[in-house]
């Protein structure tokens, strides 16, 4: 795509992540190009099987076997993360790039007090005194809205929402440049979800970190993100700023998606649905992967894969409709 400049934080170049399973090769991420700036929040949207979680994991080289990064580069701060050794990656994880997972129950050590967990994390990566680390941990917990008396609680004593806040605190403990959050609010109720999103908005300002928010809920992206990246069948089909996107989405899939979700503010919006089903990633359709379900499909859509086009400034779409 475009060469990285000083403002860029992360750049993915033609990233391919395949899973070698017994049934065949699952092309979970198939040639993704992506750039994001420092301090930007990008919502990575897609349905189950779109490859969004795999993409997030691949940035940190956490893709489980039988998956591996097959091709492409992950450029971060002048380094290609795909070329680093495991030791070097360990220094990056948690410190420069951290990750928040979906289910806080299984991600927190049930035998460790939450305060201690944060302290340990800090002390593993930084050479400071324990008292200093404890103080920082306290401040962090305060930042994420957890009362100081809960420092010594165990995860099971906290509610789902509070555990997720702890996860966020852990992710921010070492002041990373980039945080990847994988469906951080999907397991939470509406009110808690709103509170967590509020928190993330606030922390964005204070910490000024880059945030990739992976979710299937487009509305969540509208609340928090600056830019939105839409994934379908392992590919990035649209990438633009949030306002333009919701005003007028470019890709037919984006369009169809927005028309199929209920909007609580609009009365009597007739929900449309997308015909067909998401494609098989072992044997994706020839040409454009969405063509079998696309109302605008033409002949060439079933033969050749469309290139990604820059429709307007910083609005990218992968569709023949925009290729002249």
């Amino acid at each position: 795509m475009i060469a990285m400049n000083r403002n860029n934080l992360l750049s993915l170049e033609n990233l391919k992540v395949y899973f070698y399973t017994e049934e065949g090769v699952v092309k979970a991420v198939d040639g993704v190009n992506f750039i994001m700036d420092k301090g930007e929040t990008v919502g990575l949207v897609g349905e189950s099987g779109s490859g969004k979680t795999t993409l997030g994991l691949s940035i940190l080289r956490l893709v489980p076997p039988p998956g591996r990064i097959v091709e492409g580069r992950v450029l971060f701060d002048g380094m290609d993360l795909t070329r680093l050794s495991e030791n070097e990656m360990r220094k990056i994880r948690g410190r420069r790039i951290s990750m928040i997972f979906q289910d806080p129950m299984t991600s927190l050590n049930p035998l460790m007090k939450v305060g201690d967990h944060i302290v340990e994390t800090i002390m593993t990566h930084e050479k400071i005194l324990r008292e200093e680390a404890i103080e920082r941990a306290r401040l962090l917990l305060e930042d994420v809205g957890i009362l100081p008396e809960r420092f010594n609680d165990y995860p099971h004593q906290l509610s789902g929402g509070m555990r997720q806040r702890v996860m966020i605190a852990l992710a921010l403990a070492l002041k990373p440049d980039l945080v990847i959050a994988d469906e951080p609010t999907s397991a939470l109720d509406v009110i808690v979800q709103y509170q967590i999103l509020e928190l993330m908005r606030k922390l964005k300002q204070t910490y000024n970190m880059g945030l990739i928010l992976i979710t299937h809920d487009v509305s969540v992206v509208a609340e928090v993100a600056d830019r939105i990246a839409v994934m379908y069948a392992g590919q990035l089909v649209e990438y633009s700023d949030v306002n333009s996107f919701f005003n007028k989405p470019l890709h037919p899939y984006s369009e169809a998606l927005l028309e199929s979700i209920p909007n609580i503010q609009l009365s009597d919006k007739k929900l449309k649905y997308i015909a067909g089903a998401p494609p098989n990633l072992i044997d994706p359709p020839r040409g454009c992967r969405f063509h079998t379900r696309c109302p605008y499909a033409e002949n060439r859509c079933s033969e050749v894969e469309p290139q990604t086009v820059e429709f307007e400034r910083r609005r990218f779409v992968k569709c023949f409709k925009y290729l002249r």
Binding site: E47, S48, S159, G161, M162, D189, V190, I191, Q193, Y194, Q195, L197, H216, D217, V218, S219, V220, A222, E223, V242, N243, F246, A256, L257, L258, S260, I261, P262, N263, I264, Q265, S267, K269, L271, K272, Y273, I274, A277, P278
Partner: protein
């Protein structure tokens, strides 16, 4: 069609042997704590609330999958509160359920055709070739075509959306009058949800069904319901027609919920009600109004007295000492 009066379900908290020996006192989880409402024939009635509010338990109580602790359930004029055994089994022909998890609600060792056709066998409606014919017809109705292919398939060969359709087929095959749909689309992919909702709406018209639609998703509830009841901590806090609830919400909790739902439009700026604290434990619900511990507008009375239902309009009731009025609530929605 359905009348529920002061329905309660208390679950005793499991205690270890030592505890049971040492003390007599038993704690109860007051999952459903005095719920009353009516569902009219051919209505789509939504029960909306966050996890733990008791909506799923209420659905199961109405269907008599569990026994109530107290209260009354009346189905088509008949008191079914303590119905048991053979009579209850026969009642199942007229009331069915669609579960939330399509991956768990179908027997993995039963072919779809057998699973969908089983109710016919149980209630002695059809057998053999006749049964097969009806199953084929029903599979077509829910969009599982060609029916032969799906008849012989096992659940693991189907996608989530297809499995849910099979579950729907199983529910409608005996021509029930009432269906409880317990979060039927929350585990389905986003782009396939509207299709399934459309199917459910279509079937409702075709088969003259009455639905109890349980969901946590207000937007979906707004789309599909005729009537809505908002539940919190085992009780209903607001109840009314879809139009009334969404355009004139009166209970602070309802407004908090509505203002918290994310909207796919970044330009929208709303005023929000921020709730402090967490949902209290259902073992020890707060005194007076169950919501007062988190209500930003609470007053002394709210801690002491339980609010009765105030009638806002013909089909709009709210359980609050100080419900919102029509002008103020517009800022939040």
């Amino acid at each position: 069609m359905i009348q529920v009066k002061d329905l309660k379900k208390y679950f005793p908290v499991q205690r270890g042997l030592l505890e049971r020996v040492l003390s007599r006192k038993v704690d109860y989880i007051k999952a459903v704590d005095g719920v009353s409402f009516e569902i009219k024939k051919k209505e789509i009635f939504s029960l909306v609330g966050e996890s733990g509010c008791g909506k799923t338990t209420t659905g199961r109580l109405i269907l008599r999958l569990i026994d109530p602790t107290s209260g009354t359930i009346i189905f088509k004029g008949r008191d079914i509160t303590f119905l048991r055994g053979e009579e209850l089994r026969r009642l199942r022909k007229t009331m069915q359920i669609i579960f939330q998890d399509p991956y768990a609600s179908l027997n993995p060792r039963m072919r779809i055709g057998d699973a969908v056709g089983h109710p016919l066998e149980i209630h002695g409606i059809a057998e053999g070739q006749e049964k097969k014919r009806i199953v084929f017809e029903t599979l077509k109705k829910v969009g599982l075509e060609p029916p032969e292919k799906f008849y012989n398939a096992y659940p693991h060969e189907l996608s989530g959306g297809q499995r849910q359709r099979a579950a729907i087929a199983r529910a409608i095959i005996v021509n029930p009058e009432f269906i409880v749909a317990d979060e039927p689309i929350s585990m389905i992919d986003v782009s396939l949800r509207s299709k399934l909702l459309e199917l459910m709406k279509q079937l409702q018209e075709e088969l003259e069904l009455t639905y109890l639609f349980i969901t946590h998703d207000l937007a979906v509830s707004k789309y599909i319901s005729d009537k809505v009841a908002i539940m919190y901590l085992g009780g209903i806090v607001e109840l009314g027609s879809k139009k009334e609830i969404f355009s004139n919400p009166s209970h602070p909790y309802t407004i908090a919920l509505l203002s918290a739902v994310p909207v796919p439009d970044p330009s929208v700026k709303r005023k929000r009600i921020d709730l402090k604290g967490e949902v209290p434990s259902p073992i020890n619900p707060p005194s007076g109004c169950r919501f007062h511990t988190r209500c930003p507008f609470k007053e002394k009375m709210c801690e002491i007295e339980k609010p009765y239902f105030i009638k806002i309009s013909e089909d709009h009731f709210v359980a609050c000492h100080k419900p919102f009025s029509l002008n103020i609530n517009q800022h939040y929605i």
